[in-house]
């Protein structure tokens, strides 16, 4: 009766628009337009619009406007009328409208001064069960809401319910949502496991019932955690909890395996934390220096500014190998390139230590020159101007001293003003 034919017809057109790498000229022009003035979907007047559609659209616009300007009371009043839009019989867009209603109303509840948990539950439950397409997403959000409000048990129950939910063909998005739900459920299992461990640690670990319970939680959690770690992604919280449990049950091979995969699998994004976790694990289990250095070396390539590079530098410094000393110099110099380390006393002291050790060797000038070759035209400006001198002497005289002593070594050919202001004062 009130079918929004235009609305339905609009969709396929939008579908055509998204061919961004194989597009001929005409569609590129269309793309340009859609690119730079996207308009607001659902707030655009359609050709065949009934009064019902129009009032809904205007109401939505008002709500949006009020919310963007943080006039929550006004938005809440309009929102009270908006759910009538669900009476719209247009098939194609009801899913979006439900989602919109859910999003708007939760956000308003977030900011409404007397919103209660029941209101939230009401909204979450109603929208969750009003359509299959967004069930998983809203379930996940609902459990997040409970977690944030301290209802861990309820959250777990909801996640369990969502986990067992199946509907039709799984899309990628749905698959990922299911995996996330499982992983979060396992994370909660882990938290309960921690709780049990904590209570047991007070008494003794010989309590068979408690141990069995813990074991159960571990098993429940590990299945899903192991599972999600197979998908490329960022899984810091999951891997940490998984490794902790594995370490508790002394399954070191598995733990190392998981951490190695996380750090070195090329399908995974280059997460610096993956290397950090591996390094920390190795360090915890007293791995030999070469293994530690290997882990840090790879981290150094991707994140030369990482704070672990100080440890890497000292490892290299302590090592007996001759080739490690120039490497240590390179690592520290690279750290000093970055804005955040430039006035850090520890790094400069470290640099001084490296240089002092290096100076024991015959060819130290050559090594320094080699490392400084690429830096000689901008390092002076970066570290050794009179402005730096003034600032350092005011804020950190010790740093000033260290830097001044290194000035000659690092930039021997250039006269620098670094000391001019500082030494006189």
């Amino acid at each position: 009766m009130m079918d929004d034919v235009e609305g339905e017809l609009r969709r396929p057109e939008g579908d055509l628009d998204d061919d961004h790498n194989l597009s001929d000229n005409t569609s590129s022009r269309r793309n340009r337009k859609s690119m730079f003035s996207p308009g607001i979907p659902m707030c655009v007047e359609t050709l065949k619009e009934t009064g019902f559609h129009q009032s809904n659209r205007l109401c939505l616009e008002r709500i949006r406007e009020a919310m963007l300007h943080h006039r929550w009371q006004e938005a809440a009043e309009f929102m009270a009328c908006y759910p009538q839009t669900l009476e719209n019989t247009t098939r194609s867009s009801t899913k979006q409208y439900k989602e919109v209603i859910w999003r708007l109303s939760t956000e308003i509840l977030h900011h409404h001064h007397n919103s209660k948990m029941e209101d939230y539950n009401n909204i979450y439950e109603r929208i969750k069960h009003s359509g299959v397409k967004h069930y998983l997403m809203i379930s996940l959000e609902h459990s997040f809401h409970m977690l944030l409000n301290g209802h861990i048990e309820d959250a777990k129950r909801h996640l369990l319910a969502a986990e067992s939910w199946r509907y039709g063909r799984e899309s990628t998005d749905q698959y990922q949502k299911v995996k996330l739900i499982q992983a979060y459920r396992s994370l909660l299992d882990y938290i309960i496991w921690c709780d049990k461990k904590f209570t047991l640690s007070g008494g003794n670990f010989n309590d068979p019932v408690g141990n069995q319970e813990m074991q159960n939680y571990f098993r429940q959690a590990s299945v899903n955690l192991k599972d999600i770690l197979k998908n490329p992604g960022v899984w810091d919280p999951f891997i940490l909890s998984y490794v902790e449990m594995l370490e508790f049950y002394e399954d070191h091979d598995e733990a190392l395996n998981v951490l190695n995969d996380y750090a070195y699998d090329n399908n995974f994004p280059p997460n610096p934390n993956a290397h950090v976790f591996l390094y920390q694990y190795l360090k915890r289990h007293n791995a030999p220096g070469t293994k530690l250095m290997k882990a840090l070396k790879i981290l150094c390539v991707s994140v030369p500014s990482h704070e672990l590079m100080l440890e890497y530098g000292s490892l290299l410094l302590q090592s007996e190998k001759a080739s490690h000393l120039p490497k240590a110099l390179g690592v520290v110099l690279e750290m000093l390139d970055f804005a955040c380390w430039r006035s850090n006393l520890d790094v400069w002291k470290h640099l001084k230590a490296v240089i002092q050790k290096l100076q024991l060797r015959e060819d130290w000038r050559k090594v320094v020159l080699e490392k400084m070759a690429g830096r000689k035209d901008w390092w002076p400006v970066l570290h050794f101007t009179s402005f730096h001198a003034r600032k350092d002497s005011e804020e950190n005289p010790e740093l000033m001293e260290v830097k001044a002593s290194l000035r000659e070594v690092l930039c021997p050919d250039i006269t620098l003003k670094y000391c001019a202001a500082g030494s006189s004062s």
């Binding site: 790498n21 939505l60 006004e74 009328c81 979006q96 977690l147 209570t199 810091d236 970055f338």
Partner: protein, 1045 residues
């Protein structure tokens, strides 16, 4: 602290591949927590805390003013139209070209054909030339009229010439210098391009506005504002400004009195990029083919260091935050150069194509990063980190349009910005839908994503670093704020986030839209239409830059400055919300929101007033203003009267001040152009034209209409209003001179000599002439002073006084016919009443009335002792007579009615006495809602609920649901019934109300005939006032139609 990488990031999937989702809805990611991270170590369950990826609450920042404020007086400029041109209009443009530049359009062929066309009138030419012309030329003098009419707006079908049409058909393919097909297609292309440029101007990316802070004062933040000036935006201004902020007091951004330091450039300024180190500042400026670098610091004048020209259009310039004097320049050729000022250019990267897919765009962008020799290279498809030390530059992906970053199809990168001030490893990347924070240590996975929900893509941004104390969310820690600005729609959106150091980044609070200049006119006093046009046009020119001035310390605030393409600067000041500021606001849950309340009052009261005045019409008689007038005015007047005190105050004093702006003197030259006299200029000079101020109490004076939806949460302050007033006045003055003359004049028939009187005594009587002249002069003076041309100001002889016709004394005619006729002038009711009187139909009623009157007089005597002090409060209120009539006659126990009356009326009278216009009784009646007892319970205030006592309670008990339902209905939706219309439906059904839209007043008036308690009193009342029976019928009719909803 920046060196710390968050030890735990939020979990997410990593999907390489093109994006596949479509923009679906307009709710962005409202209501989402995104992801949750657990913290707490291995303790008991209760130790664990959870952090969401999107925290519900951010800091609350409130505007100090409801509108942006202009910083500088308006300058003369080219203002393009606010609407982008429609490419389909090319025919109109062609026509204009043919008309205005006919020499260019038809010159060549005209020259050739001119020999063969003869435009001379046959009568006037002499014989020889006629002979000559007859041989080899076409006579065209007949066409001349038609050609002449082209200068006017006429109907071209009426004024056409057959011969011209014939010639047109014959020669149309030959006479044009440029073939019309070619011209048309070129114009179409041009218009299309112009349209696109108006919607989205690539060149403006980055913004041509910058602020360089100087050392901070105690109560103010000083600094230098860099902005383009001049008509072509080709003048670089270094202007010192000062931000002063006092909580509770005024906060202003004031430009210094000294003239800004100016530099003239060869092209319009597109982007200004600046970097400061140790109080030295390096400013890089980009125009289309030129880039320049200036250096300056506090206390020294800016100095131009070097200018380079680029062969291709430069798209980006970026000054290095590490080494002063290093600048990156990107151009449309795809080359990025590292420009060490004074040393030369070094090509660091070149890309022929787009990075990740073919986006058919030659826009390139570059930024510095945390490492001085690693830079960002961006185009519409993504961003790469490029190490410029290795010589075929190596790059690796920092960000790309893909499904990892949850992009939507068609999404493109718009802007990238290094957030060095906030976090040395963070970059902001915006697309037309989202904004991302990317950490360069963890490339290709964004740390944070917002839906910025802006209408058009954000081209400008400014970042306000938060305090980096601990990185956690406790205590006085401040969020980092990202302010995004868009081009064509002028939107400004503020986003907040925290983290990035000891914990992962998380966004805080929903995006907040700030004010736009184009919307400010709604909140300012009303302008007269053609000024409104000019002002709207000027204010809605697209934005060209954005920057912020941040003042830290005890009274911290943020001033957002926006530049428009017209060269105007607008600023708005935001201050953090404090809890004590919150309490001054009315608690939102208990009262209706002002606008809603006002609207309800309006709808109820206007009806009430209309019905009541029509019934009161005859009783009050001559003192009452004409009913028609009354019926019209209440709606307008109520708006301001029934508002709650806050808004009432605002609008009242807006009215006071605003009137000066409304009664805007018209500096526009008249067609003759003589009236641009001194009077207008004096008024223009910004002083209040004192003589021009209209008295405010007149109910017809224009009230600045604040649209109910746009209720400002902050009041417009006096200074701001004055600033705007001056600004608008200057704008009018500036723009009036260059208003283009209308292209076509209207074709008028001359009536000059059509009728004229025979002049006595010769044509030029000097005295007569002089009198006319002096009269004109007087008239002009009066007009400029906006006073009336009165007789005593004119030096004319007094005209003969025409005696007024004698007043008709209807009493003189005694006969029945005359009486009847006289009465029939007063309307049908009076006439009918006369007949009823005459025929004795209402004898019984009269007797009853007399009896009732006596009873009432007794009651009055009884009650008068108690009511003495009360009547005083009623006196000032409007409804004295009315209410008195009711409470006297009906069965209300007097004590109860007093209680009720004093409750509601006391408030009413108080609000009344505040109003300056409510003095004369006649206006009072038409202005105020007349609170009859019947409406009091219906109004649904809990206070009023205790009004009915004894008899009234009895009468109400017959319809108890009405009250409860209406009470429920009028209560604001709060908390539990926010989104459950079902609940309301149920309520409605329970209460047995057929329609929710019927007003409570209607409910009661319908019932009043059946209410035993009331019926007597009402019928008495209706007899005391003959009009009531009809008016109640009328109201019944009205209500019936309303029920049809």
């Amino acid at each position: 602290m920046d060196q710390r990488f968050p030890p735990q990031l939020f979990p997410s999937f990593y999907n390489s591949g093109p994006p596949d989702s479509l923009p679906e809805h307009c709710a962005g990611n409202w209501g989402c927590y995104d992801r949750v991270r657990a913290e707490g170590g291995s303790g008991p369950v209760s130790n664990w805390t959870f952090t969401p990826g999107h925290q519900v609450r951010g800091e609350t920042w409130r505007h100090t003013e409801p509108v942006p404020v202009p910083l500088l007086p308006p300058k003369r400029t080219f203002v393009s139209h606010s609407k982008p041109p429609d490419p389909q209009d090319f025919r109109e443009h062609m026509q204009n070209f043919f008309m205005d530049h006919s020499q260019d359009a038809f010159g060549c062929m005209g020259e050739i054909l001119s020999e063969n066309f003869n435009f001379q009138n046959r009568k006037t030419e002499n014989l020889s030339s006629r002979l000559q012309s007859n041989q080899n030329s076409v006579n065209m003098w007949m066409v001349k009229n038609v050609l002449g009419s082209l200068d006017f707006k006429v109907c071209h079908r009426t004024y056409r010439s057959r011969s011209l049409n014939g010639l047109g058909a014959l020669l149309s393919d030959a006479v044009h210098s440029v073939p019309p097909e070619l011209l048309g297609s070129l114009l179409y292309e041009e218009l299309t391009e112009q349209r696109e440029r108006m919607l989205f101007s690539e060149g403006a990316t980055g913004g041509a506005l910058a602020f360089i802070p100087f050392s901070e004062g105690s109560s103010s933040q000083r600094g230098c504002l860099l902005y383009p000036g001049n008509q072509g935006q080709n003048q670089l201004n270094f202007h010192n400004v000062e931000l002063q902020h006092h909580r509770g007091g005024s906060s202003v951004l004031t430009p210094s009195v000294d003239d800004p330091v100016r530099f003239h450039l060869k092209g319009p300024i597109r982007q200004i990029s600046s970097a400061s180190l140790f109080n030295n500042c390096c400013v890089a400026v980009r125009s289309d083919h030129l880039c320049g670098v200036w250096r300056f610091s506090e206390g020294t004048d800016p100095r131009l260091l070097q200018v380079v020209s680029t062969t291709e259009v430069a798209t980006c310039v970026s000054a290095s935050p590490h080494v002063l004097g290093e600048v990156l320049v990107a151009s449309e050729s795809g080359v990025v150069n590292l420009w060490a000022v004074g040393k030369g250019m070094l090509k660091v990267r070149e890309e022929e194509t787009n990075l990740y897919f073919n986006a058919k765009s030659s826009w390139r962008w570059c930024e510095f990063s945390a490492h001085p020799r690693v830079m960002l290279y961006a185009d519409r498809t993504g961003v790469e980190l490029t190490d410029i030390r290795s010589s075929p530059a190596r790059g690796h992906t920092l960000f790309r349009i893909s499904s990892t970053s949850a992009c939507r199809s068609g999404e493109r990168l718009i802007l990238s910005r290094y957030l060095g001030d906030a976090h040395s490893f963070h970059h902001l990347i915006t697309t037309q839908f989202s904004a991302y924070v990317v950490d360069e240590r963890f490339p290709s996975v964004p740390m944070l994503k917002w839906d910025h929900m802006m209408e058009s893509a954000p081209l400008f941004c400014h970042v306000l670093p938060g305090s980096a104390s601990s990185g956690s969310v406790v205590g006085g820690d401040r969020t980092t704020k990202v302010v995004l600005g868009s081009y064509s729609s002028q939107e400004i959106t503020m986003l907040q986030y925290s983290g990035g150091r000891v914990e992962a980044c998380f966004s805080r609070g929903p995006p907040q839209a700030l004010h736009r200049p184009r919307e400010s006119l709604k909140l300012l006093p009303v302008q007269i239409p053609h000024r409104l046009d000019t002002a709207t046009n000027r204010l809605s020119s697209p934005a060209a830059g954005l920057t912020c001035v941040q003042k830290k310390g005890a009274e911290e605030c943020v001033c957002v400055v926006q530049l428009t393409e017209a060269g105007d600067l607008f600023y708005q000041i935001l201050e953090p919300d404090r809890p004590d500021a919150e309490t001054s606001r009315p608690p939102a849950a208990e009262t209706l929101p002002p606008e809603r309340e006002a609207a309800e009052h309006l709808s109820q009261d206007s009806q009430l007033v209309v019905t009541d005045t029509s019934s009161d019409g005859e009783m009050i008689g001559p003192t009452q203003a004409a009913p028609r007038f009354v019926a019209e005015t209440p709606e307008r007047e109520q708006l301001s009267d029934s508002e709650d005190s806050q808004r009432g105050q605002t609008s009242r004093w807006v009215r006071q001040l605003g009137l000066n702006v409304i009664v805007n003197d018209d500096p526009e030259p008249h067609p003759g152009g003589e009236l641009d006299g001194a009077g207008t200029d004096a008024a223009e000079a910004g002083k209040e034209p004192s003589g021009a101020e209209e008295p405010l109490c007149s109910s017809t004076s224009s009230i600045p209409v604040v649209p109910p939806e746009e209720t400002p949460d902050v009041k417009l302050s006096k200074d701001v209003l004055a600033t705007w007033k001056r600004w608008l006045q200057k704008l009018m003055k500036k723009s009036c001179g260059k208003r283009p003359h209308p292209h076509l004049l209207h074709f008028t028939n001359s009536t000059e000599r059509l009728l004229h009187l025979p002049v006595e005594g010769g044509a030029g009587d000097p005295s007569e002439e002089e009198r006319v002249q002096s009269l004109r002069r007087d008239l002009r003076v009066c007009m400029s002073k906006r006073s009336l041309l009165l007789h005593d100001t004119v030096s004319l002889a007094a005209p003969d006084a025409v005696p007024l016709p004698n007043v008709v004394d209807t009493g003189a005619w005694k006969d029945e016919l005359s009486q009847r006729l006289t009465l029939s002038w007063q309307g049908e009711d009076a006439w009918r009443a006369w007949w009823e009187d005459k025929l004795g139909l209402n004898k019984e009623e009269k007797v009853k009335a007399l009896r009732r009157k006596r009873r009432r007089e007794k009651a009055v005597k009884r009650a008068s002792s108690q009511r003495l002090e009360l009547s005083g409060s009623f006196c000032s209120s409007v409804s004295y007579q009315d209410l008195g009539g009711f409470s006297d006659s009906c069965g209300w126990s007097s004590a109860a009615s007093q209680g009720a009356g004093s409750d509601s009326e006391g408030m009413m009278s108080q609000s009344q006495s505040e109003l300056p216009g409510a003095r004369s009784p006649s206006t009072m009646i038409c202005e105020t809602p007349v609170p009859t007892p019947a409406t009091t319970p219906a109004r649904g205030r809990p206070v009023d609920q205790r009004t009915p006592s004894s008899s009234c309670l009895r009468s109400l008990s017959q319809k108890p649901e009405v009250t409860s339902a209406s009470l429920k209905r009028s209560r604001r939706p709060s908390g539990d019934d926010l989104f459950t219309p079902q609940v309301r439906t149920v309520l409605k059904e329970e209460s047995g109300l057929p329609s929710p839209r019927r007003t409570p007043r209607a409910d009661l008036s319908r019932e009043d005939f059946h209410w035993s308690g009331f019926s007597q009193s009402l019928s008495q009342g209706s007899q005391a006032r003959p009009g009531l029976s009809q008016s109640s019928q009328a109201s019944q009719k009205k209500k019936k139609s309303r029920m049809g909803f």
